[in-house]
Amino acid sequence: MAVTGAVMVLFLVGHMLGNLKIFISRDSFNDYATALRTLLEPLAPYRTLLTIVEVVLAVSVVLHIWAAISLSRRAHAARPVKYAAKKSQAGGYATHIMRYGGVTIVLFLVWHLLDLTFGVVNPKGPVSTPADRMIAGFDPSRWWMTLIYLVAVVMVGLHLRHGIWSAFQTLGWANRNRYKALRTGAALVSAVLVIGFLAPPLAITFGVVK
Amino acid sequence: MKYAEGSPIQDTKAPEGPIEDRWEKRKFAAKLVNPANKRKLNVIVVGTGLAGGSAAATLGELGYNVKSFCYQDTPRRAHSIAAQGGINAAKNYRGDGDSVYRLFYDTVKGGDFRSRESNVYRLAQVSVNIIDQAVAQGVPFAREYGGLLDTRSFGGAQVSRTFYARGQTGQQLLLGAYQALERQVAAGTVEMFTRHEMLDLIIDNGRARGVIVRDMVTGEIERHVADAVVLATGGYGNVFFLSTNAKGCNTTAIWRAHERGAYFANPCYTQIHPTCIPVSGEYQSKLTLMSESLRNDGRVWVPLRKGDDRLPGDIPDDERDYYLERIYPAFGNLVPRDIASRAAKNVCDEGRGVGPGGLGVYLDFRDAIGRLGRDAVEKKYGNLFEMYERITGENPYDQPMRIYPAVHYTMGGLWVDYDLQSTIPGLFVIGEANFSDHGANRLGASALMQGLADGYFVLPTTLGDYLAAGPFGEVNEEAVAEAEAKVTSRIERLLAVNGTRTPDSFHRELGRLMWDYCGMERTEESLRKALERIPELRAEFWANVKVSGANEELNQVLEKAGRVADFFDLAELMCLDALVRSESCGGHFRAESQDADGEALRDDEHFAHVSAWEHSPEGEPVLHKEPLEYDYVKMSQRSYK
């Protein structure tokens, strides 16, 4: 869980940095997308690195989800009779955000891939440049799309606020002297990711980037 | 109540010779059991406290086939877990003049010359091994910055020989023993029976050969046979209903063994602990001890004037009576438990007590906070202060604690010889359940020491000596069936009464009676009254108790009723013993026997003996005296002035 999560976090950081290129120019963003595919050429065929990354990511996502499902199945098995009254003493944050948040993220992921990767649900369709798809996707007239992304990205942020800290704990690298730093760090990274991911769509929707 | 006097008894197992060599000699003389034979020898250990837990673990480790029983859901919850203050050992790590001899000397003297020199000396000798053993098991004793073990002085001792683990020494030591025990369970040498209560002892051919237990979940009455039985079932302070003991502590196991022939020694010796949280109301179910270490820095006082109901903070110093410092200038607030307890009772009897019902005295940290600062006090006592506040809702940093004495420990128990064997061959008794080492008064931090000495070091040797003659063959079916039938019929009888009073209400009444008539101060008159009242109350119990439910289920009312029934019989013997012992000694204070200053006055001429009571089915107990001789520590009157 922690390892696959960490892979995804690393990916998210890279992904976010790439997205931010849209602020430099459409071409810069497109170049980045191309670079992703042509990196390591001619040492290796076109798309080698990207494919590796995609495979690793896909495996991570699958394993992560599989682990999440098996954890929650164990949890159900471990408590067959529910409490009539149950009150969380630790805020209940982690419990709900991780499971329900996680599911929201999966749904979003599917949508996101269909939208901006395959362009199936994008107004520009599959045959277009990434920048076109992005800018068309978040057109002011499609504010609801931006809203979906907003909700989803905030979800990812919340997931990671617990997840990053939790991963350190799971891997045994946490201790009471580091808790504060870890929690703050996790919140910080999550906040940066949320802001970094939301900046392009919001900028497009509000007409800052055209 | 009448009694008969039987022939005197002598503990013949202690070797002669210089006291330092006796244990060594005994160990050497003890027969060894061939390792291959050990597996064929079955031992039953009832109780999983420090004594029973350490014994079962060690016997398992040695290769015997052990069955271990406790009434809790896991062995780790035995009452030893609650001990707070610490454990004594003559390590002399501080170089402050401690030694095996000094611990021996202090214990004999502290016990008011009513314990056996040989036993006490062995206890002091073995004490050092206990600390080594516990540390090796990972018991996290308090340490100093240099990484070495910290010690403190405890309960009036003038050397720092008490090892401790914050306020949870008993817990940490017990977890050490528990873990050792579970290790043996995993190894298959010990079979554990939790939620099983021992209800009778099986005797065949004069030897203890097993126990009858009730599975407290299903109600099934089970028989377990073995080559020897060890009782480590703790103390019987709960005869007073209110005590610092856990709710389940009982006398059932040792009482039934007594009824089967084991002598009961010094039943009247009870220890009353001076620093407990006072009773707050009728519903009170138990009393909570505040560690004695509080007396190191707290000052005990009551208002000088009777009926002074000002808030403690409003009473100026010259209208306070720091009575311990006044009466005992040399020891002040650190006088031994029995003295501190009785002094508190006296000032309350004078009408100067504080809190509900006037049954309390102040333990004040104002000066300590002034002298050391609040932080230092918090560091030392923070958890105790919290506990106090949790229970009373009062903050001891702002207002003095209220404390009152409560029953805490019972020095009496089944009589055992130097080998810890009772008068029934094959029945060994260890820990608080026996009477062995503390005489008429136990020193603070010595019970943990004794329990572990018995379990880890003494019993494994002496039991081996007994078992070397085994295995003892099949147990006669008739003996087993008889014991089982007795247990079953008793349960049926309890269930059949269907009266109008709960077992607890009888227990409360009995406890009250014992506290009033056989508590901190006893008189011939009070004891005679008690001896009159107890049989009446017992008769009412058997005619009018209400036990709901059935045997074949988890039935806490039935468990309780069985224990209360035994407490009645024990209470009677306690009062008789207290009546016969017309001297004062240690925790046993007879008002008729005091000196001009109101201090306990021993009568060595007539009472330098152990009173071992034999049960007789006709009801007239037989008193056997075991004379006590002091070759090393000169008998003297205790004085803490």
């Binding site: 164990r74 949890a75 471990a78 009254a85 | 919850r77 914050r166 856990a246 949790r390 709901s548 988890l554």
Partner: protein, 246 residues
């Protein structure tokens, strides 16, 4: 004070159980929670009803025998307090209080509020000890221990094995209990030789007992009467991962 109690009643493992309502009157604020139940039970006995079964022994917050979920919180809402140390002054007159047993498959209900926690013993059996036969120990001062280590080990060692952590955990995980023991022994030099094998054996046993997995929700420490810190779980994970890497 007068109170309404909603208590889980279940006559045995095979009964499906239900909540039953009771009125208790004239409760003193100085009573402990268990004393309040004692008073109710005394009444039930005399009325010929089955009294409510609950576990308890020391009533001092140290044996770990007591435990019930009170108004949805293991041991009640008072922090760092066992059920037996909880006092009625923390409740309001007229309140309704819901009382349930620890709920976890590895802790089957025995009767009413009594559950079977023997799974904890089996976790300890798997390796929660230092193997040292009586009489073989070296002198206690032969191995100094840094005070900080001794203190941290002590913090972990104060676990009373009550099971509140399991009861509170949304995953029904026993990680805090198991980690407390692993950490206690891991931090001391005496625990080193068996350190990794112990962690592995205990964690594997915990899983085999059917406890859920830890997702670091922190619900356990929040209700733990001894405040066993969460980093014990990190310590356990670290030892466990190292053991598996070997």
């Amino acid at each position: 004070m007068n109170l309404t109690l909603k208590v889980w009643r279940q006559s045995g493992p095979s009964d499906s159980g239900r909540m039953v309502k009771y009125r208790v009157e004239e409760v003193s604020p100085d009573m402990s929670f268990l004393e309040m139940l004692d008073v109710l039970n005394e009444r039930l006995i005399l009325e010929g009803d089955d009294p409510i079964a609950f576990d308890h022994d020391c009533r001092e917050g140290i044996c770990g025998m007591c435990g019930m979920v009170i108004n949805g919180v293991a041991h009640g809402e008072q922090v760092a307090t066992t059920t037996c140390q909880l006092h009625m002054r923390h409740f309001e007159d007229g309140a309704t209080i819901t009382i349930e047993p620890w709920r976890a498959a590895p802790f089957p209900v025995v009767k009413d509020l009594v559950v079977d926690r023997s799974a904890f013993d089996r976790i300890i059996q798997a390796g929660g000890f230092v193997s040292v036969p009586a009489g073989s120990a070296p002198d206690a001062h032969s191995l100094p221990v840094r005070k900080e280590d001794a203190d941290s080990a002590f913090d972990a060692a104060t676990c009373i094995g009550c099971g509140a952590c399991v009861a509170a955990c949304p995953n029904g995980s026993a990680s805090l209990f198991t980690a407390a023991k692993i950490t206690h022994l891991s931090l001391l030099p005496q625990g080193q030789p068996e350190r990794l094998s112990r962690a592995k054996a205990m964690v594997d046993q915990m899983d085999a007992e059917g406890f859920g997995g830890c997702t670091n929700t922190g619900e356990c420490t929040a209700v733990c009467p001894k405040g066993i810190p969460l980093d014990t779980i990190a310590q356990m994970n670290s030892d466990y991962l190292k053991a598996n890497a070997k």
